[in-house]
């Protein structure tokens, strides 16, 4: 059992490089979430408090540590110790997606679970994690993409309005392997899905996509960490959010780290938000750290804008009624992400779901 230096209680030093963040399998090694800690600063901690239930009497280490998953906050450590560990294995060429549904039945008790998705070397397949109903869920998703494998993982939050969901996804992508990771948050009260991806093997690639549609009172957050370790790795992070209604909130923090050995890296991250009404707020923080001089390219972009009245005017000037024109513009804005989803049926479902969000 290893508690990394700095992982104990109040001694958390400011983290300089994103991969030096303290980690531990022991919940008590972490201090309670604090709004001065950048990792928690945007969350309404009172609202999140139920997820910390039982933190104090959490026992020490019970579940075995993993070579590829390291809990980086108290909720993740709690989930690791208390939750079930469910394996999903992709072997060979899987034509049909593996669908795992969590159907919440109430906010209590707090549930914890761990999913370990392993794509064996040279396999290919898709895993869709779906979330519905009401629940308080702490969760870890461990993703291993073997050499030469191609994996798509979708996390689709269609929770009821009161659900609480904090998830840490950690992925390792092997040599010449690729991971497409998509976070879609349409429902829930507070939903935080933090994906962290290591492009460990030479020639590894990833596409990290996100789509959030936050209504009044909903908080959807993703802290994304993309770590280029291997040579000639490629990464693209694109998160888009639409917000409507009082207190609708999205948070995106995108950290990209290009390590000292990651020569020939090509990396780009962007976050774009569309604020549809007054009283909604999107926070967007891109960070890029480069430790080698020899890269192909690296860049980031972040933009949060209001609904474009000129676009609306143009469509309406062609006879399209206002409601439908708004729908077209918003769906158009989000289409870039939806079009990346695997399977026509899933894409259709998502277009439908977004259209429903808009008519709320």
């Amino acid at each position: 059992m290893a508690v990394q230096p700095g992982a104990g209680g109040a001694s958390l030093a400011p983290v300089q490089t994103r991969d030096e963040r303290p980690w531990s399998y022991v919940p008590s090694a972490f201090s309670a979430p604090d709004r001065h800690d950048p990792a928690w600063q945007f969350l309404d901690l009172d609202r999140l408090a139920p997820l910390l239930d039982g933190a104090t009497d959490a026992a020490g280490e019970q579940n075995a540590p993993s070579a590829t998953f390291r809990p980086e906050d108290i909720l993740s450590a709690l989930a690791w110790q208390q939750g079930d560990h469910e394996p999903i294995v992709i072997d060979g060429e899987q034509a049909e997606p593996v669908v795992a549904v969590v159907e919440g039945t109430g906010l209590e008790p707090v549930v914890a679970r761990n999913v370990r998705i392993e794509a064996r070397p040279h396999s290919s397949g898709t895993v869709v994690l779906e979330y519905r109903g009401s629940a308080s869920l702490r969760e870890n998703v461990e993703i291993i993409v073997g050499d030469g494998a191609h994996l798509t993982v979708v996390s689709l939050q269609q929770w009821a309005d009161d659900a609480l969901h904090a998830a840490a996804h950690q992925a390792v992508v092997g040599r010449d392997a690729s991971l497409k990771h998509v976070v879609v948050s349409l429902g829930g009260g507070v939903v935080r899905i933090n994906p962290s991806v290591r492009l460990a093997g030479d020639g590894a690639e990833t596409q990290l996509l996100g789509l959030a549609f936050a209504d009044a009172g909903q908080h959807f957050e993703s802290q994304v960490f993309l770590h280029h370790e291997g040579r000639r790795t490629k990464g693209n992070v694109t998160y888009k959010g639409a917000l409507q209604g009082a207190g609708a909130r999205t948070v995106w923090i995108g950290d990209v780290l290009i390590g000292p050995d990651a020569v020939g890296t090509d990396s780009y991250e962007q976050n774009r938000n569309l604020v549809l009404t007054e009283g909604a707020r999107a926070d967007s923080i891109p960070n890029l750290e480069i430790k080698t001089g020899d890269i192909q390219g690296a860049g980031h972009a972040s933009a949060t804008g209001r609904f474009d009245d000129e676009q609306l005017f143009y469509l309406r000037a062609r006879g399209i009624p206002e409601d439908e024109a708004r729908r077209l513009v918003v769906i158009g804005f989000l289409a870039e992400i939806i079009q990346q989803l695997p399977g026509e049926a899933l894409r259709e479902r998502l277009f439908e779901a977004v259209a429903q969000e808009l008519s709320r």
Partner: protein
């Protein structure tokens, strides 16, 4: 036979320095099949006229009336005006990310005609018009105006004009930015619409070049928010030779060519 009747139209726009009066009592009457050219110096209010007719929210109507066969256009919403048969080909068409031309055209056609067009004939019609406007088929799958060149945007406006079949169209500098061949192609598109549907046209332009292809019945000179002079096609030639100096207060000079 329809009539678009503009009477004593007064329009202002809210600016940071307060409200600015732009149209100061404009009269214009256009009947089906007629083409009215509107010329005038930069800033005279030509685009404002187009936007005001189309119902752009930035432009405030301070007075006057606009009727289409007696119906009060100014009381209609933006999309109602389009469905009533008004069409504005914009000077600067707007880009709409994520919405393909094909989807956009079908949605607009459905809205304007009140029912979805029959799939097979519609696709044929769209392709036919695109071909005549020398637009590659691939444009149908591109996002509306996104990454289109200036000339491609203008062709796309005329494509919509042909497909939506309005009763009256305001063409705001549709000729600007077009090369010689494109000007001819686009003009032919407008002429087809005129012949096919008896379209009435308000054609805003700075150049007589387009008027050789789309012959106007009337030419109006718009200066400082009012019609300063009206005449037949010959007036356009005179303006091209003399400029607008004689309409402007002594000492002021027009920026336009």
């Amino acid at each position: 036979m329809s009539t678009l009747e503009i009477k004593d139209l007064r329009v202002s726009v809210a600016t940071e320095q307060g409200r600015k009066e732009i149209l100061k009592g404009l009269d214009l009457s256009v009947r089906s099949g007629e083409t009215h050219a509107i010329m005038g110096p930069n800033g005279a209010g030509k685009s404002t006229l187009g936007y005001a007719l189309a119902g752009h929210p930035k432009y405030e109507i301070d007075g006057g009336s606009v009727t289409l066969d007696g119906a009060d256009v100014l009381a209609m919403s933006i999309d109602e005006r389009a469905r009533a048969g008004l069409f504005l080909a914009m000077q600067y068409p707007v880009e709409i990310p994520g919405v393909t031309v094909a989807d956009f055209l079908r949605t607009a056609k459905t809205a304007v005609s009140g029912e979805a067009p029959a799939v097979r004939t519609w696709i044929k019609e769209v392709r036919g018009s695109m071909e005549q406007l020398r637009m590659d088929r691939s444009f149908a799958e591109r996002n509306v105006n996104e990454g289109f060149s200036g000339g491609e945007k203008k062709r796309h406006e005329i494509l919509q004009l042909e497909l939506l079949r309005p009763r009256f169209a305001i063409l705001d500098e549709t000729d600007s930015g077009l090369d010689v061949d494109a000007l001819k192609i686009v003009s032919e598109g407008v002429n087809r619409a005129r012949e096919a549907t008896g379209l009435g046209v308000i054609l805003i332009t700075h150049y007589t070049r387009i008027l050789r292809y789309i012959q106007p019945d009337f030419v109006h000179v718009l200066v400082d928010g009012r019609v300063a002079e009206e005449g037949g096609p010959e007036l356009a030639d005179r303006l091209e030779n003399e400029g607008y100096d004689r309409f402007l207060p002594a000492g002021a000079s027009s920026e336009s060519a």
